[in-house]
Every structure is written in C-alpha cells, then in structure tokens.
Amino acid sequence: MELTAKERMAIERHGMAEQPPDLRNRNFEEVPYGYTPEEAVAEAQRCLSCKKMPCVSGCPVEVPIPEFIALVAEKKFAEAARVIKTKNVLPAVCGRVCPQETQCEGVCVRGKKDIKEAVAVGNLERFVADYERENNLAEVPEIKNKNGLKVAVIGSGPSGLTVAGDLIKLGYEVTIYEAFHRGGGVLVYGIPEFRLPKKIVESEISALEDLGVKIYYNSVIGRLHKVDDLFNVLGFNAVYIGVGAGLPIFLNIPGNNFNGVFSANEYLTRSNLMKSYLFPQYRTPMIIGKKVAVLGGGNVAMDSARTAIRLGAEKVTIVYRRAREQMPARAAEAHHAEEEKIEFRLLSSPVEIFGNDEGWVTGMKCQRYELGEPDESGRQRPVPIEDSFFEFDCDQVLVSIGGEANPLITKTTPDMKTNKWGYIETDDWGRTSKKLVYAGGDIVTGAATVISAMGAGRMAAKAIHEDLMKESDETVTPDWW
C-alpha cells in the first residue's frame, strides 16, 4: 500500500528505546536497544523519496539512502543491507558512530525546520545491518579470477578494512598488518563497548577473513618491516597506509605527568581493548577516579567521561574552552553524557594541574573564556578573561584535546612526502609521493571520523586497482565494480 506524502509527513520520528541513564551508568552495555522491525518500517515510511536526494550527497561515501530506506519500508531488510554495502562495508558501525546530524540527516528535507524531524537514517542503517548479521543473511560474494597481485594494508581500522574488503573482492591477495593483538583499530581500542559492541567489529573482521583477507597481528610496520621491505622482501605490489593519527597531545601546562593524568587514548585503550573494567579477570589495572576532569569537547572526550562514570566515578566534569554549541562531539553523545549527569564546565581551560608529594593529581586551576571574533574555522574564537581563575579538586584528569602524526612509518620511509605537521601528503585518490604507496584516514587528514576514513579507503582501493591494472595485463575488473 503506497502512502501519500501527507500521510508520510504525519508520521513522527521514532527514537530508539534506550537503557535509562541511572541503569546504564553502571554497565558497559550498549545504550540504545535498536529498532523493532515494526519501528523500522514505520520510520522508513517517513522518507519522502525526494528527487534531489540531498542525503546521498550529504554522505561521505554516498550510500543510496532513499533506495535502502524504500526496501526497509517493504520489509526487505536483507536487500536493504546489500544496497548499503555497495557503498559502505561497515554499516553496523556507521549506523552507530557517524555524525548523522552533520551529514545525511543534517540535509534531510524533513529536518529543515528542526533537525530532530529528519528521517532517522542512522538508526535505520544500524537496524538493517544488525538484522542481516543476527540472522546470518550476509552474502559471501564468490571471488573469481584471483589476479595474483599482493597488496599490504597497514592498520585494521575503518580505512584499512575498507581497502581490504574492496581489493579482496577484485581478486587481489590482501594482507593486513595490525600493531595490536586485535583488529579494528580505533573501533576496538577507542570507541567504548556501550557505543559500539566489540562483537560487531569482530563479525566484520571475520567476514573479511572468510573472503580470504589475511591478518597479521602484533606487527608494527616501520619497526618489524619497513615499507620498502614490504615490496622488496615480501613481494607486495602495492601498500596502503591507514595507521591512524597516533601520538596524544598534552596541554603545555605544569602538572601533566602526575599520576592520574591520562591521555584519553591510554584511558580508553585500557578500558576498551584491554578490558580493564573487568580487572582483575583481565589483568590490565585501571585507576578509578572519584572526581574526574575530562579536557576537550569531542567524541573522545564524551567517551572518556562516560567510561569514567561507568567505572565508578562520583563526579565527572568536562572542561571545554568553547561553548556547548561549538562542541565537535556527535549530538547524541553530548546528550547522553548530560543525561548521565556529567557536568559541563564550558568556556574554561586549565592553566595548571595540582598534585601532592607522592605525585598524584589533586586538582586543577582553570581560566574562564568568552567568545570573540570568528576564527579561520568560522567558529567564534575563545578569548581568555583576565583574572577569572578558579580551582577545583579532582583525582583524575583525562586529556582529550587531539593528537599528532605518528612518525613510525614516515620516519622509516624518507622518500614519501609529509606535510609540515607530519601527516602523509596524498592526491585526492590517496596516492602518496612514493610509487604504489597509498594512504588514507587520520594519518593523512589528522583526527577525523570513521566514515571519512572509510571514504578515503574506498578511493584508495580504486586508485590501487587502476594503477596496478596499468602495470599488469592480468588484472580484470568485474562487472559490478
């Protein structure tokens, strides 16, 4: 039964049922429960299938959104998942972690007046991907015409997994080198279980292994093998570098090295990858702060703050230099953090971290800021207010103010160009200045999103295929590519 536009307009947006804040702040289980099939169909019926499809251009990998949503409305969930996967190999991940409000949902015609009225594209994407996985409906594509060419992918984060998935299907032999003992990169060490259950990442990786992708863990490229060795010794025909950004930044203020001061990377890696929230069954210990200060306003800051609450902190305060509206965090994360009673100290920035004689952090001194003229990014610049200092007690500080480029590969690959910040220079397709070496994700752009890293991986896979085809007559492009 076809609905009229008016009937579609009359349907209200379906939120996802969630664990209540006072329950979830004591566990690490996922916050939203997911749609029921009925909710998914009803939400899908809200889509007007408009001709312009602004959502598709709003998506960094151009998922055919109206097409998959129309299939959901017809209860063809597995087909919907297949449509998404033509453009996005990790829909269960992206449905959960993409900043939809600035992408597909941000340009949805139904959200023009109020973003909260946009079609819930992210929720629907999550639903169909979960439905496909939970019911084992994923199709394993048959790979014909192995072309005998070998590609090394460095890093098993979102961009590396995308490159591996695309190239294995084209007939390449793909080997991923992962520094950690588990695959997934930031999806497993950075993003907490309550936002992205690890079983989803594991299932995506085992799907790639089923297709024939080899993964070598505990392999730090730059140390174990240099990029040149991958070609000369190990016989790879092309190399993709997707190692993520790397080194954490600490504020240039006194007291950074007191015990209890963590980079968000360390704190989240302990909790997520090493599962120290299950200490001592998992042996990696964790400092459980009572009064925790989190520095920064991005997703990583929200993840750190919400992890601290779950580990048993009595009070968690986010200290951010700009205003609430300027926070780079995904809207849902900041909202969930507020619901979990995390305090926001906005327009404030630390000037000193205090500690005791035993070397443990005891508090911090901050300065208040106000908003001034817009800066290059268009955001109003935060300006310190003179003599506006205040102090508060805390026994743990989680620093989440970004990172800088990891030099392990670039230092050992001197003939590959980097920019002045140490990130790898590439063309629009991920080609570096070194022949048959490609790069994408945070090591090229600096800290960004999962979806943009996947987009870069998709582009690089195309470039690798194009370039290797020129080098070899053997390579055949299948029809679907």
Binding site: R283, G312, G359
Partner: protein, 282 residues
C-alpha cells in the same frame, strides 16, 4: 606462533627463548618487545637480550616482580605466548666511542649483552659490570664474557667481585683514572639513578634504558612519558635510552608505582595459589 622453546631460571629471573622469526630478523641492540602471556594479560615491555636468525628465536630475561611476570614465569616449554610485538623502541646508538662501560642489574645482566656485542663489533673496548645480591644470582655470564674485554662483578655480600653495587665499581675505576668514553646502564630505576650519579661528576656520556609503564608501545597512549631535561618524552618511541644525567628520577619512580595497590592484591592472591579476587568492584 610465539612458542616457548626453552626455559630456565636463576633465582627469580626466568630465561625464555621464544619462537619469533620475524622479530629475530629485524631486531637491533637496545630494542624491546611487548608481550602478553594470555589473552587476558597485561601488555608488558621486555628488553630482548639475545636472538638467533638461524633458529628464529628471541631470548627474554623476565624478572618475576608481579602478576604479569609471574604468569610468564609459570609458562612451560611448548606453551605459546598470546602476543609478542616488536621490535619496539629506537635501537642503541652504536659507534666507536673508545672505551664503553655497560652496567647491568637483575634483568639488565641479560639485557646489556646485545649492546656489549654490538659495541665490540664497532671497535670499542667493552667492560661490563654486573651486580647481584649473591654470587649465585648471576646468569648468562659465559656469553657476556665472550662479548666483552672484561667483566667485573659486584655483590651485596661480597661473595663475588667487589662488595657493593655497580656504581661502587665505576667510582673506583674513575678514581683510579680509567678513561670511560660512554656508559650504558640497564636495570631497576634506583640502580640507573645511582649509576648516573656516579658518572655525572666525571661528565661521562651516560645512556640509561628506561622501563616505564607501557600499553601499545607505538607512541599512541603516552603512558610511558618521562621528563628528560625538562621535556616530556615517550619512552616507547623516543627511547628507551635517554641521557641518565637529565632524567627526572623521582617522577619516573612515582609513575612506575601508580598501580602498586592493584598489583599487590592480585599478585598476593595468585602467587599463593588462590583464585584471583575481585577488587574495586564497581
């Protein structure tokens, strides 16, 4: 992979020879690996003390000090470690210095060996000084003798060599006017500090291998940060070797003891054969 192919122990130091051919092929003197005994283990950094490209093995000397090292110590030949990642850290700077003195205590007795070998190959006169409480706690001596021009001993009870510590031997050498062009020290933080203080008055270039707490070992987490000459450095990528005269020892010691409370609870229980208790349950 990572099978334990040989194992022996001298007092509380465990020699573990592990199958890791790729690491054996790429490692250089001064580098380390991060190991996990089992899937639930901590990731802990251990200096690689020897390797063999023919057999594809690396040798670690593990000092039993807590939960993670105890779990490694209890592994048997034929067992496999869950993860061995490396080589990590920057290699030692090896060149022809002239006379090089290497000081090692506890696991450092084994860890100075590859540096000794590399320094000798680079043309240096190499003198190693090793310390232990009692003479029966020394190990890996035959190899060390073969790699050095001279091996000197220090024991707390005077049962072998000089009664005292590595720095007492060095001080005596320096007072006698022995010319030392470069010193390397590997061992516990207190030993590194004492030895660095011994070479400071004589302005002898001194490298110490720091073993701060690490997680990933690739510079991503910053757990291992140390202050050297007033600057924050990451031991895993900027080190592990730093100028011993510039290290903030108090801070390093405090940072290394950050988890003592948690470690003590689980270690006591586990080492007494009991179940691991739940602590700090949320």
């Amino acid at each position: 992979m990572y099978e334990l192919v040989e194992k022996s122990e001298v007092f509380n130091v465990h020699e573990m020879v592990i199958d890791a051919p790729e690491i054996a092929h790429s490692i250089e003197a001064g580098q380390f690996v991060i190991v996990m005994g089992s899937e639930n283990s901590e990731r802990i950094p251990l200096t690689v003390s020897d390797w063999n490209t023919d057999t594809g093995t690396i040798t670690l000397y593990v000092l039993e000090t807590g939960m993670s090292t105890l779990e490694l110590a209890r592994m048997k030949v034929g067992d496999s470690l869950y993860a061995v990642t490396g080589p990590l850290g920057s290699p030692s700077e090896i060149r022809d210095y002239g006379t090089v003195v290497l000081g090692g205590g506890c696991y450092g007795i084994g860890a100075i060996y590859p540096i000794a070998k590399a320094c000798r190959e680079a043309g240096n006169k190499v003198i190693s000084i090793i310390e232990a409480r009692y003479s029966f706690m020394f190990y890996h001596e035959k190899e060390l003798h073969a790699a050095c021009d001279q091996v000197l001993y220090a024991t707390s009870d005077g049962s072998k060599g000089k009664k005292g510590k590595v720095e007492d031997v060095i001080t005596e050498m320096l007072e006698k006017g022995v010319k030392i062009d470069q010193a390397f020290f590997i061992g516990c933080t207190q030993m590194l500090e004492r030895c660095s203080e011994a070479t400071r008055p004589y302005n002898i270039p001194t490298k110490v291998a720091l073993n701060s707490i690490m997680l990933d070992g690739t510079g991503m987490c910053g757990a291992c940060r140390v202050s050297v000459g007033g600057e924050t450095k990451f031991a895993c990528v900027d080190g592990p070797e730093f100028d011993g005269h510039k290290v903030d020892w108090k801070e390093l010691d405090q940072r290394k003891s950050a988890y003592t409370e948690q470690e003590t609870v689980v270690y006591q229980s586990y080492s007494h054969g009991g179940e691991v208790p739940k602590v700090g349950s949320a």
